[in-house]
């Protein structure tokens, strides 16, 4: 639905976004994953016209918007990073305000508001001030407010950062519902376990796209295999041997009672690590992200 082509943005000497080309496929969840300061927020801001891009093109439904950002803002709902609504306004007042600003006709506003309040479980709190809501509830309110204009494209900048795990799970359930309604979602997150739920995953580091694909695609093209090893003997002793071995150092890390180790090429790390048990596992996004990051 949206395609960004060769987008760049410089802040002084820092290349915040460096020649980024990426697709946001329609009706799917696209997740930008990367550390703080990787350029995710800047990219979103350039998409909605809140920051000026130095170079590149934005294509919406196949045609270049040519600087007409109202084409994007007319179809999108954008939730900025660390965004909080008016904390002294109630849930409903916040929603009414944003609906009015977006010129949603009153009857439609009422109907949509009811539906969103029900769907997000906020109906009992409709008169509560936004400031008195929990972190997860605040995010749901922010999401509901931007959904009042029925956007086709939903842009969420780190909506789950700092939100507790239960709320994050609930938040994601809503996002998946939105996808089922045929909407396009693009969001950023620093949590790689969460990014696994995306249809299209984009690793961003230092303003550049490191890799982008589906989870299956990323796994298929990942050049290493992951082994989970239950070491024989004291794990610290074994880790010391691993750290001293130039072939294994940097590829293995302890996790609980296990050592997780990446293996490129043939064979397996079992030959070098004394073990009681060894299983090959699917690498997680975190494994892949860290692998590519160390390559870079």
């Amino acid at each position: 639905m949206v395609r960004l082509e060769h987008i760049s943005k410089q802040f002084g000497a820092i290349r915040a976004v460096d020649d980024v080309t990426l697709d946001i496929p329609g009706g799917a969840i696209t997740i930008l994953a990367g550390a703080d300061g990787a350029g995710k927020s800047t990219l979103f801001k350039m998409l909605v016209g809140l920051a000026k891009k130095d170079a590149g093109a934005i294509l919406l439904d196949g045609t270049d918007i040519n600087g007409d950002y109202s084409r994007v803002t007319a179809v999108c709902g954008y939730m900025p990073e660390r965004f909080s609504l008016y904390s002294d306004l109630s849930v409903e007042e916040n929603m009414d305000f944003f609906a009015a600003v977006q010129q949603v006709p009153a009857p439609r506003r009422r109907e949509l508001k009811e539906r969103l309040l029900q769907r997000t479980g906020m109906a009992p709190f409709r008169r509560r001030r936004a400031g008195a809501l929990s972190g997860g509830m605040k995010q749901k309110l922010a999401l509901s407010s931007i959904l009042l204009s029925s956007p086709r494209l939903i842009i969420l900048d780190e909506p789950t950062t700092g939100v507790d795990p239960l709320s994050r799970i609930e938040f994601f359930a809503i996002i998946e519902d939105l996808k089922k309604e045929g909407r396009t979602i693009v969001m950023s997150t620093p949590y790689l376990d969460e990014a696994e739920k995306g249809d299209h995953i984009v690793f961003i580091r230092n303003g550049r796209v490191m890799r982008q694909d589906s989870l299956a695609g990323l796994r298929a093209s990942f050049p290493a295999r992951l082994f989970r090893i239950l070491p024989a003997g004291n794990i610290f002793e074994v880790m010391r041997q691993v750290a001293a071995d130039p072939d294994l150092a940097g590829r293995a890390h302890p996790r609980g009672r296990y050592i997780r180790c990446l293996q490129t090429g043939a064979g397996d790390p079992g030959e070098r690590i004394p073990h009681l048990e060894m299983v090959e596992e699917q690498p997680t996004l975190e494994d892949m992200y860290i692998y590519y990051e160390r390559q870079a």
């Binding site: 016209g49 950002y69 990073e81 660390r82 965004f83 609504l85 002294d88 306004l89 009015a100 977006q102």
Partner: protein
């Protein structure tokens, strides 16, 4: 219109839901007036005076020359058309604040002098500025004593008959407090809007306003209207406090004053918006607003230093400071009972400044918003 209404409603919610801030808006001015009203004092050094010479004798001309020769006074004895000032014309000058003192030479001066009888020189002083009034009185007395000595070696040929207009009790608070009201009103109104926008910036909600279909002008107008009402109430509140605590009589019409205050407040609110476009947080907005509104309003508006005593550069600057005009208006209306027609120029300047600031604020805001276009 519906969208502006949405913003206005929302701003009213903000105002009413935060009783603490609202209280501060009313309490801070009280504290400031209280402290400053009791503590400020200052000196002056140049006084505009008008002479009404009803005698037109050799002696009266000698007296007028004595005043004119003294550097403390800037004396005028003729009106714009070159005619000699009449009593009524001089009183009008005094009321408009163009002169601080009127010297009236009685018609029978020469006769009385010839008969060796003492004559009374009338001195009418604008007491709304106590320091000027005192100074004017003392220098005038001095000049007459010198003249007496020259005429007949120390006797009392000429006597001063002094009348203090506008502030007969000569209380300096009468002069300071209306000025303080002017400064405080500007600060509070600018602070209201600058904080309101800086807050949106801090919470990130401004991004949603930025990308909404709202026009920048609509956002600004919607943000301004609720605070006009708050500021007007605040202004009326401060004036009533001044009236009943310091006992300052409001001689002119409160309605006229509030009408001018409206223009003045709009200038302040627009200034606040302008400041907020460069202030990333509420804290910076607050400090910047205090600095930008208070310092020039205290120093360059004629509040502490009379405009005449400023260098030309600062003097020029004083013309673009809204407080300069509102200060004259509020002193005139409160202390002298001046009317709307007396301050058409000041009112026009306030209107022009308000519109200018509003346009600048909208432009700056729009520019910031359209980072791209």
């Amino acid at each position: 219109m519906g969208r502006i209404k949405a913003i206005i409603t929302k701003e009213f919610f903000h105002i009413l839901r935060d009783p603490r801030s609202l209280t501060l808006v009313f309490i801070i001015p009280l504290v400031m007036i209280f402290i400053l009203g009791y503590s400020i004092s200052y000196d002056l050094n140049r006084v505009a005076a008008a002479v009404v010479d009803l005698s037109q004798s050799r002696l009266s001309r000698q007296l007028v020359r004595a005043f004119a020769a003294n550097p403390v006074f800037a004396v005028r004895s003729r009106d714009g058309a070159g005619n000699r000032l009449s009593l009524a014309a001089a009183e009008d000058l005094l009321r408009r604040g163009e002169v601080r003192e009127v010297i009236i030479v009685p018609a029978d001066l020469a006769q009385r002098h010839a008969a060796g009888r003492p004559a009374e020189i009338g001195l009418v002083i604008d007491g709304s500025d106590v320091n000027v009034a005192n100074l004017a009185y003392q220098y005038s007395e001095r000049i007459l004593l010198d003249l007496n000595a020259a005429l007949m070696g120390g006797g009392r040929l000429l006597r001063l008959g002094t009348k203090v207009y506008f502030n007969p009790e000569a209380r300096s608070q009468f002069f300071f407090i209306p000025g303080l009201v002017a400064v405080i009103l500007l600060m509070i109104s600018a602070m209201l809007t600058s904080l309101s926008i800086a807050r949106e910036r801090e919470t990130g909600s401004i991004a949603l306003l930025f990308i909404s279909p709202l026009k920048s002008g609509e956002i600004i107008v919607g943000k301004t209207i609720p605070y006009i009402i708050v500021s007007l109430l605040d202004g009326a509140f401060i004036l009533l406090f001044a009236r009943f605590w310091f006992g300052i009589p409001i001689r002119g019409s409160l309605l006229v004053l509030l009408l001018f205050a409206l223009l003045y407040i709009v200038a302040g609110l627009a200034l606040g918006i302008l400041i907020s476009t460069t202030a990333p947080t509420q804290r910076t907005a607050m400090l910047a607003t205090m600095l930008i509104t208070m310092l020039p309003s205290f120093l360059l508006s004629g509040f502490i230093f009379p405009l005449d005593s400023l260098g030309w550069a600062l003097r020029a600057l004083s013309y673009v400071i809204p407080a300069t005009y509102f200060l004259r208006i509020i002193r005139g209306v409160v202390l002298k009972g001046a009317e709307l027609r007396h301050f058409l120029f000041e009112g026009g300047m306030l209107l022009a400044l308000s519109l200018l600031l509003l346009a600048a604020a909208t432009r700056k805001f729009a520019r910031q918003r359209k980072a791209v276009q």
